[in-house]
């Protein structure tokens, strides 16, 4: 039995997308009343929930406080029912610790932390259904939640994963595409300035291909940006139709 053909000669992927097309992306902001900011996102079958608290005083040890900027505290978790097989996932396993760290780095680069010295911003993200691109869905959800909380950021942070299969970069990988084991790049971008907030790669990729892959990921991030921006504007229209400002 031959394995799955991830990219056909006609240029279609297993689910019918072309190499540079994203999955269907939809999102809602302000899903919880209690939190300062929250958002729910669906990227294809990957579904994530993000909640933001803060900025508030440092909780726990005072010693953690930074005198010139806010502390960004992140927590990533996956629901037990998020994958095909039901599995208990204790907090603080290696995978989610790593992901937590990545999220922290990403948002430290985007949030204007210098405005809130000696305070703390909490970002909690949970994957409700995992179908590839978990990190990206988390970043995109968290961006919306941070915006929803009214915390100033330099720009949106948009993230998009890109794989490299059969000599062409594939954008926004689904689980089956990820599980083939090819190299995979996750890029978090501040789209207006095109600054990279985080770039992570697993697997080996020859340097000749790197540029193409990053270009594809950048384009993917910009596409994500277009959608997120629309969602934010629609949300604003709903909440307070009069305050919407132009570009």
């Amino acid at each position: 039995m031959a394995g799955l053909e991830l990219l056909s000669d006609q240029g279609y992927r297993v689910d019918g997308r072309k190499a540079a097309e994203l999955r269907k992306l939809r999102a809602r902001m302000g899903v919880f009343g209690q939190a300062d900011g929250s958002a729910y996102i669906e990227q294809g079958n990957t579904k994530a929930l993000a909640v933001v608290y803060g900025p508030h005083e440092i909780r726990g040890g005072r010693s953690k406080a930074l005198h010139d900027k806010a502390l960004v505290n992140c927590q990533y978790s996956m629901a037990t029912f998020s994958t095909g097989e039901r599995k208990r996932r204790p907090h603080g396993d290696r995978k989610s610790t790593e992901m937590t760290l990545h999220l922290k780095q990403t948002f430290e680069a985007a949030i204007m932390t210098q405005l809130y010295p000696r305070s703390q911003i909490d970002i909690y993200v949970q994957i409700l259904q995992a179908d590839g691109g978990n990190y990206c869905a988390c970043v995109n959800a968290a961006t919306l939640a941070v915006i929803n909380a009214g915390i100033p950021m330099k720009d949106y942070v948009c993230a998009c994963s890109t794989g490299f299969i059969e000599d062409s970069p594939l954008v926004d990988l689904s689980y089956i595409e990820e599980s083939t084991g090819g190299p995979q790049v996750a890029l978090a971008l501040l789209p207006k300035s095109e600054q990279i907030a985080l770039l992570e790669m697993n697997g080996r990729l020859h340097e000749d291909h790197m540029e193409r892959v990053v270009d594809a990921a950048t384009k993917g991030c910009r596409d994500v940006y277009a959608v997120l921006d629309r969602i934010v504007r629609e949300h604003m229209e709903e909440v307070s139709p009069t305050t919407l400002v132009g570009e």
Binding site: D9, K24, E85, D223
Partner: protein, 993 residues
């Protein structure tokens, strides 16, 4: 990931928004981006598939997959100007105006849509240039992909051929042709329905797009009766493949190439079922799991059609073979199939029969009685014996061979005898039997029903008259899968422009070695010179030795068509009268060849050596050289021996020769083996290209001189690239043979009162050196020939994929091939790796990928093996031609092997090996006594032992054109001679370095 189709369930999810990418597209069509219409349209565009799967550990896994539908997929007809088709780039694969009136069934111009089974079984027809304008549906392509990898590759080649006008329609993702599986409908029915739906859509679509009155139709080709009926109900035009092909006016001969798929209901059931049923795959898998059955690849016995072995995968120990005997137990397995076997109870285990038996069966099934092989032996020598219970995967290819015409004049069914003896005869149907009778033809197997003694097949093409040198060479190349078509334009376009000149930039990047006295030493008539040598004295008393190898990787850049072609060919194949080049002649015989007195690019390996051949330092560099002389081995030897010659080149050669002797001494001390194999060379008439004389190759000191330095260069380079790229170096290893391989050698030596130690390479080498018996000078060579046959095959591998690097024959801990890049692709890769490691070139992705490199190694190993086989076959054919002209010859020879009913004789003068039989059909069997221990054979009181000297008469037997044979008959020692029946066996060549 394998998906059980049973669990498929499709659910429609209604969604509201879409991605940015998608959105823009809708804006284009939905006027002004009207949101309401856009979302309505979106709702139907996303489907999701949910499937349940059982994991290995037994738990149930639920998978959900998205399935996007699109409206931007074109129909592929160049004529269509409807929205998506006109816009998309790939829109004109099909001809806008397919030729009309080519079929009597459908006079209008039309496109053809074949279903899966038609593609799978009638790929030969689809490949014919006559068949054009075919739409291959994605559904069909996917099914073909799952069911047969070779057919999938072939159909893809056809699709990529622009002249064939094939188009792949991605129907599963098209919004109008996607269908969901209905309740109670199985996957096959659903796919058939999808195919019909696509055909229906094509008809509608084309009608819509065509304003003019020209009728353009789309025809479904299916052999499935139910599918055809349903299609006709739905108002579609559907034909079976046979109907359609028969209706083609221009090419009636295509009918012969139709695969005969036995439609069981139509066939008159033969009363007798010859074979037991094959088990279904599910039961085989169960059996494999429980250990009841074993899986392995089926290897038919070349000499006995009633015997085969099944080679088990993944078992390292000795017992990795199962013996199969008898027609029923073989159960329709064909050579190279992947089969499941069941072991027989121990008491019915048998020994492999040492008998040679050929299938001389009659044309009809009826007269054939199941003969049980009478040679079943019980006892200590019996091996694991089993029977084939099912075939897991057929590995049928196309076979060359000849037609054995049926005795009935009007019959259209004939038997086809393949050239490869391991393949059974095939029954084919043709109306051209009289023209094909004396031709070499290609045939493909279609199936093997239980009631048929032979498999059914169909004719593919004819190669030409049997016995013609060109035809025979073609057969030989085809049978050994040697790519030998002329180089395509795409390949040639990557050649450097002539006249080729060396530019200043080139010189800057390379070391200028043009002043050195470099010369090359090769066999006479060699035009692809890939190595040259030099040696000079240094001021400190040491010697500088340089090996200069043609810099082929400078001309062949990674990834282009030229490189791909060379990768596929893997090696240059040297036949007796011609050479099948790996790279085009401009490179192989001119620009890369290190000819004398022209400037050429080289990759040089330069050592500083002490007088007793210790390496002091090694330098690798790209260089420009100017060879001062191209010598043959004989010329070089003459120069060395001629004391009156004292020019620089000769002096250099003498120094090299002295060093080489030192090197060899060291190598032998380490335990390197010197083996032997009879090699022959033909003198070929320049006019008729017939062989006029035959001589064994002579070995001079200079041969060994060149060899020593090549080995040294290879070892140095291997070490260097392995140090630099421990994960992806291309190396060559030669595994140590298992002790059991030496059995025959030890026995044979013991029969002559000699002792051979096989515990290590060194012990083997030493005991071979000591094995001399006064009075029989050739004995030592014979022992070495036998020892060669005990050896394993040396193979290429990627260093990241293996841990054992040892080269047994050369007693080196690491080895690779660096010195012949013109004729071996492995050397080109090694050149590239070495160039990267000295910063002379840059790397590229595939070079650093160990899995791709290992795949490449596997191909190279295969090509090398096939090249060797085809070389042997070519020598065999030329030997036959030679003896055809010679008439009857008496020659002295030695017995190489003793079999139960025959002896194998080697004639050193011709390097020829043949079998002398002592029994034949329709003749009384002489009194034979076989003693397995010695081994010896006593025939009517005369005893034959291994290495005995005999005299035989050699003649050519042309009674069977397909298999002309060299006949050997005993002259001495004399006894009553019977008729003989000898298959000709070519001499075994070995290349172990």
């Amino acid at each position: 990931m394998s998906i059980k189709k049973k669990g498929f369930k499709t659910v429609c999810i209604r969604n509201k928004s879409s991605t940015a990418e998608r959105e823009r597209k809708y804006c284009k069509w939905g006027e002004g981006g009207n949101r309401v219409t856009r979302e309505d349209e979106c709702e139907t565009m996303l489907k999701s598939k949910t499937l349940l799967k059982r994991t290995r550990s037994g738990s149930v896994l639920k998978l959900v997959r998205e399935h996007y539908l699109r409206d931007d997929i074109g129909c592929g007809s160049g004529r269509c100007d409807l929205a998506p088709c006109g816009e998309s780039g790939s829109g004109s694969a099909l001809q806008p105006d397919p030729p009309a009136h080519c079929s009597s069934l459908c006079p209008q111009p039309h496109y053809i849509v074949p279903d899966t089974n038609v593609v799978l079984h009638q790929i030969d027809i689809l490949e014919d240039p006559m068949i054009q304008n075919v739409v291959i549906l994605q559904t069909v392509l996917q099914e073909v992909r799952h069911r047969s990898a070779p057919v999938y590759k072939r159909i893809k080649d056809v699709i990529n051929n622009a002249e064939k006008h094939f188009y792949t329609f991605t129907n599963e993702h098209h919004k109008d042709t996607y269908i969901e599986q209905e309740k109670g409908e199985n996957a096959n029915d659903r796919n058939d329905r999808a195919i019909r739906k696509a055909v229906e859509w094509y008809n509608d679509h084309i009608q819509k797009s065509l304003n003019d009155s020209a009728e353009l139709q789309t025809i479904l080709i299916t052999n499935d009766r139910k599918n055809k009926e349903l299609a006709e109900e739905a108002g579609l035009i559907a034909f079976t493949c046979e109907e359609y092909i028969k209706s083609l006016i221009a090419s009636p001969e295509l009918v012969d190439r139709l695969a005969c798929i036995s439609d069981l209901s139509n066939e008159i059931q033969s009363t007798k079922l010859i074979f037991p049923e094959h088990l279904p795959l599910s039961r085989i898998q169960q059996g494999l799991k429980s250990g009841k059955y074993i899986q392995g690849s089926f290897r038919a016995n070349r000499d006995n059609y009633l015997e085969a072995t099944v080679w088990l995968h993944g078992e390292e120990d000795e017992n990795n073979e199962v013996l199969i005997q008898g027609l029923k137990n073989l159960n329709r397995a064909v050579h190279e199939d992947l089969v499941a076997v069941e072991l027989l109870p121990k008491e019915s285990w048998v020994a492999p029969s040492a008998v040679i038996l050929q299938d001389e069966g009659q044309v009809d099934d009826e007269g054939e009685e199941e003969k049980e092989s009478p040679f079943i032996l019980l006892g200590v020598f019996s091996k694991a014996t089993g029977k084939v219970v099912g075939v897991i995967k057929r590995n049928w290819r196309s076979y060359c061979g000849m037609l054995s015409k049926s005795q009935i004049k009007e019959s259209t069914k004939h038997l086809f005898t393949p050239a490869d003896r391991r393949i059974p005869r095939i029954r084919i149907e043709t109306r051209q039997s009289s023209t094909l009778e004396n031709q070499r033809i290609i045939v493909v197997i279609d199936g093997w029903p239980r009631n048929s003694r032979y498999p059914n097949g169909h004719f593919v093409k004819s190669l030409g008259n049997a016995g013609d040198k060109e035809t025979e060479t073609e057969v030989l190349l085809l049978e050994h899968d040697v790519p030998h078509q002329p180089f395509s334009q795409a390949v040639l376009s990557f050649l450097p422009k002539v006249p080729w000149i060396i530019t200043k930039e080139d010189l800057k990047a390379r070391k200028d070695l043009r002043h050195l006295d470099i010369c090359s030493v090769d066999p006479p008539g060699c035009t692809d010179i890939d190595d040259a040598l030099h040696c000079k004295e240094l001021e400190n008393g040491n010697l500088e030795v340089g090996v200069h190898i043609a810099d082929v990787s400078h001309f062949i850049r990674p990834g282009n068509a030229l490189d791909q072609e060379a990768t596929n060919r893997g090696t240059t194949v040297y036949l007796c009268e011609k050479r099948i080049d790996m790279v085009p002649e401009l490179l192989s015989s001119n620009l890369c060849s290190l000819k004398s007195n022209v400037e050429r690019f080289a990759f040089s390996c330069i050592w500083e050596m002490s007088r007793n051949a210790e390496i002091i330092s090694t330098v690798f560099t790209k260089s420009v050289i100017n060879s001062k002389a191209s010598l043959t081995y004989a010329e070089a030897q003459m120069r060395i021996d001629d004391e009156s010659m004292n020019d620089n080149i000769t002096m250099g050669l003498r120094r090299l020769n002295t060093l080489a002797k030192e090197l060899k001494k060291k190598r032998v001390k380490m335990g390197a083996l010197t083996l032997s194999s009879p090699e022959v060379r033909f003198h070929i008439d320049s006019e008729t290209h017939d062989p006029i004389d035959l001589q064994t190759k002579e070995l001079r000191e200079t041969n060994s001189m060149v060899e020593e330095f090549m080995l040294l260069a290879n070892i140095s380079v291997a070490q260097k690239i392995y140090d630099e790229f421990s994960d992806c170096a291309l190396l060559r290893k030669h595994p140590e043979p298992p002790p059991s391989n030496y059995g025959i050698l030890v026995k044979a030596a013991a029969s002559q009162g000699l002792e051979i130690h096989t515990d290590s390479a060194k012990a083997l080498a030493d005991s071979l050196d000591k094995a001399e018996v006064p009075g029989s000078p050739y004995l030592n060579t014979l022992l070495r020939i036998l020892a060669t046959r005990c050896m394993m095959q040396a193979v290429y591998f990627c260093s990241g994929m293996d841990t054992d690097f040892h080269h047994f024959g050369l007693a080196s801990h690491i080895y690779t091939h660096f010195t012949s890049p013109i004729r071996r692709y492995s050397d080109i890769i090694v050149h590239r790796l070495l160039a990267v490691s000295i910063n002379a070139d840059c790397t590229y992705p595939d070079l650093m990928d160990k899995h791709k490199l290992q795949a490449l190694c596997n191909n190279l190993n295969y090509r090398h093996k096939m090249a060797q086989y085809s070389q042997r076959a070519s020598v065999a054919f030329h030997t036959q031609l030679f003896f055809k002209n010679q008439g009857i010859v008496d020659e002295a020879g030695y017995i190489l092997f003793v079999k139960k009913n025959a002896i194998v004789v080697l004639i050193p003068k011709f390097g020829l090996e043949g079998t002398v039989f002592f029994e034949e059909k329709n003749k009384p069997t002489p009194d034979l006594h076989y003693n397995e221990e010695i081994p010896s054979l006593t025939v009517e009181g005369t005893t034959f032992k291994m290495f005995d000297k005999v005299i035989v008469t050699i003649t050519l037997d042309s009674s069977n054109i397909q298999h002309q044979r060299i006949r050997m008959a005993l002259v001495e020692p004399k006894f009553i001679v019977f008729g003989f029946n000898f298959p000709f066996k070519s001499p075994m060549f070995s290349s172990y370095n």
